[in-house]
Amino acid sequence: MNGTNATQTLVDRAAVRTTAPVARRVRAMSDRAIAWLFILPTMALLLAINIFPLIWAIRLSFTGFMANLPGAARFIGIDNYVDILTDEDLWTNFRITAHFVFWTIVLQVLIGLGLALLINQKFRGHGFWTTVILLPMMLSPAVVGNFWTLLFQPQIGPFNYLIGFFTGIAPSSFTMIGSVALAPWTIVLVNTWMWTPYVMLICLAGLRSIPDYIYEAAEVDRASPLRQFWSITLPMVLPFLMLAVLFQAIQSFVMFDLVNLLTSGGPGSTTELVSITLKRAAFEKWETGYASALAVILFVTIFGAANVYVRALNWVKQQ
């Protein structure tokens, strides 16, 4: 921490040379100065790179601006918003996104929590296997989406063959990413494969934070393992689980790379998440105003939902 070093030596020398009452005053001023010094860079960065563009995007959403054509932005009021909210296809995309987020969360919670409970039994080698399970999370979602297209290829990929091996169905009789029925589940599958370790990790942290004496007291009270799970484990893990769900829900809602590289939103538009529609509008059709309006709508949705959710989370924590 070079910054603090430089400031510190200065402060040291000043501290040594000042008399006690002055030193006390200097130290007191330093506290507030330090607080601002420590917080300011972060806030400045966030303002510049997060807030300023957000405000700019809001402004753009009221225009018909197209970033690839010359000419200034033309104010068109709420036309973009009306277009978006009355577009049937876009509502379908929202529905597809909701389906994706919901089932991903359900699977991740069931499998993640289950794994955490199992790992918490501390069998031999559990540290090693935990690290192995973490691997999918460490890949780039874009790269994952890309190589899963190879794995899902009915003819040349192993996935269909494996299913065929265990169930007797012919490998080339179904396609995971090419069929209208299966594709929405395929994206759920790959997203779950990739991010369940994250939920597992947070649940594991939650489980580890439960002090042993609570269980010992329950043992003394002769509570059954099921009872213990229900009244001790679950309530104490719940805040952690809810936090994991919050992060994962937000992430799945804005997920773009994985799905775009896996299915391109296809077949047709059956896996076209709203983020894909947004990218196409913003960076392929260059309908900047429209895309900004869509982005604002997405942000408001997430912000509102997260607000409600965090309140619920706090309430749960107080129990």
Partner: protein, 448 residues
């Protein structure tokens, strides 16, 4: 804790070392150079070889910036839009001409051509219209035809020659098993081959484009639709699309493509474009393959399926037309370039007949009449005759400045109908006309 501190400081050290190295290596070499931008595929490698001659002649170093097809349009249109000086020369897609001319991305070449006696008559007319002119059919040139390309078909000549298959086909269809000349024949041959066991593997009749993300399925379906009556607009009434885009013939064309997809496309290829076709054909999965002529030289040389095993035929005709989808690109000078004069020098060099001939020899595809219409060329490779024929019957997609939304709308509607089974072809085309009218209104045109 100590170990992690060490690891952290090691990470810091690695980071700062990397930063220092990065800064050092990014210093550019001095000396004259031009940057040529194109898509990353085999012909691009041939261009690298060809450009060595230019460097030898003029001492100007040629640098190349090749971007994969999937991000080619996004990347370079972005670049051109922002007046980046990164590319001096660009071999841009035929679709970009409208935008390039109206937004002055390219240098207009008329004066340059006149001064240097470069005549557009030395190139095939379709390539001049497709790669150089905007507005279309007017003598305003924004590029030099560089890479002539169109959609064509390959087929397994060795399979077509198998006596037992020939006998079976003749018995069933009462004609010889030959490369199809119409889409009806194409369907018959494709259905014939689908499901057969050849060389120990189950094979499929035909591979066609189905890619969703950029332009794939559109570049495929037009080959059927053109020949059943589809057109972009009324030739006598600009931007009049009602009844032209969504005519009954156009819908039938789309149905025929869908039928071919459903019956005879290998499983899983629902989002496939150029590379998957090459893979499918090379691995012996399909009897016939739709793809760009640009790949045919490579296929002809392939150790597994090339040589005598491969044959080529031009896009089959339909009841209402005999067209094939135009591909290819033109060579243009980027207006924002800092070395426009040197870039023009390159264009002059590239236009020379000897260079055009060498370009084709190395693996490119010259659009020059002298090269393509020569007897030597027709005999030089098995795909040459059908290529020359194809270049005479090409039709291109919109090259409007706003071609991207037009293309994306068509991608959406076509893929929805053909792969996702949504609605009927007529409904898809009706919706497409609505989409396109909206885009043209944005451009300020008067669609109907």
């Amino acid at each position: 804790m100590r170990m992690s501190r060490t690891t952290l400081s090691l990470a810091c050290a690695a980071g700062s070392l990397a930063l220092a190295l990065g800064a050092a290596t990014s210093a550019r070499a001095e000396g004259k150079s031009l940057t040529m931008c194109w898509a990353a595929w085999d012909p691009a490698n041939a261009l690298v070889e060809l450009d060595k001659d230019f460097t030898k002649q003029t001492g100007i170093e040629m640098k190349h910036e090749f971007v994969p097809w999937t991000s080619y349009a996004d990347h370079f249109i972005n670049l051109l839009n922002s007046r980046s000086t990164e590319c001096d020369l660009i071999i841009g897609d035929s679709q970009w001409i409208g935008g390039a001319a109206e937004n002055k991305w390219y240098v207009k070449l008329n004066d340059f051509f006149d001064k240097n006696n470069i005549s557009m008559d030395t190139f095939l007319p379709a390539t001049v219209v497709g790669y150089a002119e905007w507005p279309k059919n007017t003598p305003n040139y924004w590029g030099l035809p560089a890479m002539a390309d169109a959609v064509g078909w390959t087929y397994r000549k060795d399979w077509f020659a198998k006596p037992e298959l020939r006998a079976e086909f003749k018995a069933k269809y009462n004609r010889e098993l030959e490369p199809p000349k119409t889409w009806d024949e194409l369907l018959e041959v494709a259905k014939f081959f689908t499901g057969k066991e050849i060389d120990g593997k189950k094979v499929y009749g035909a591979y066609i484009f189905t890619e969703r993300g950029s332009e794939g399925i559109t570049m495929g379906v037009t080959n059927a639709m053109y020949n059943y009556g589809f057109d972009y607009m009324d030739p006598k009434q600009p931007y009049h699309m009602d009844g032209v885009v969504n005519s009954a013939g156009a819908a039938k064309g789309m149905d025929v493509y869908k039928e071919l997809f459903k019956c005879c496309q290998p499983p899983g290829l629902t989002n496939a474009y150029m590379s998957e076709g090459l893979d499918a054909f090379k691995s012996g999965e399909v009897a016939m393959q739709m793809n760009w002529y640009a790949f045919f030289p490579g296929l002809a040389k392939d150790p597994n399926v090339g040589g005598d095993k491969i044959g080529f035929f031009k896009n089959p005709a339909g009841p209402a037309g005999d067209f094939t989808q135009l591909g290819g690109q033109g060579l243009s000078v980027v207006a924002a370039s800092k070395d426009v004069d040197d870039a023009l020098l390159y264009v002059k060099w590239f236009a020379q007949p000897e260079v055009q001939q060498k370009w084709t020899d190395l693996g490119g595809a010259s659009a020059s009449k002298a090269v393509l219409l020569s007897d030597a060329y027709k005999k030089s490779a098995s795909y040459a005759p059908s290529f020359v024929e194809s270049m005479d019957m090409v039709k291109d997609f919109w090259a409007e400045p706003l071609y991207v939304p037009l293309l994306l709308d068509m991608q959406n509607r076509v893929h929805d109908y053909i792969v996702a089974d949504k609605g009927t072809s007529q409904e898809a085309l009706d919706a497409l006309v609505k989409d396109w009218k909206k885009v043209f209104k944005q451009e300020g045109k008067n669609p109907s």
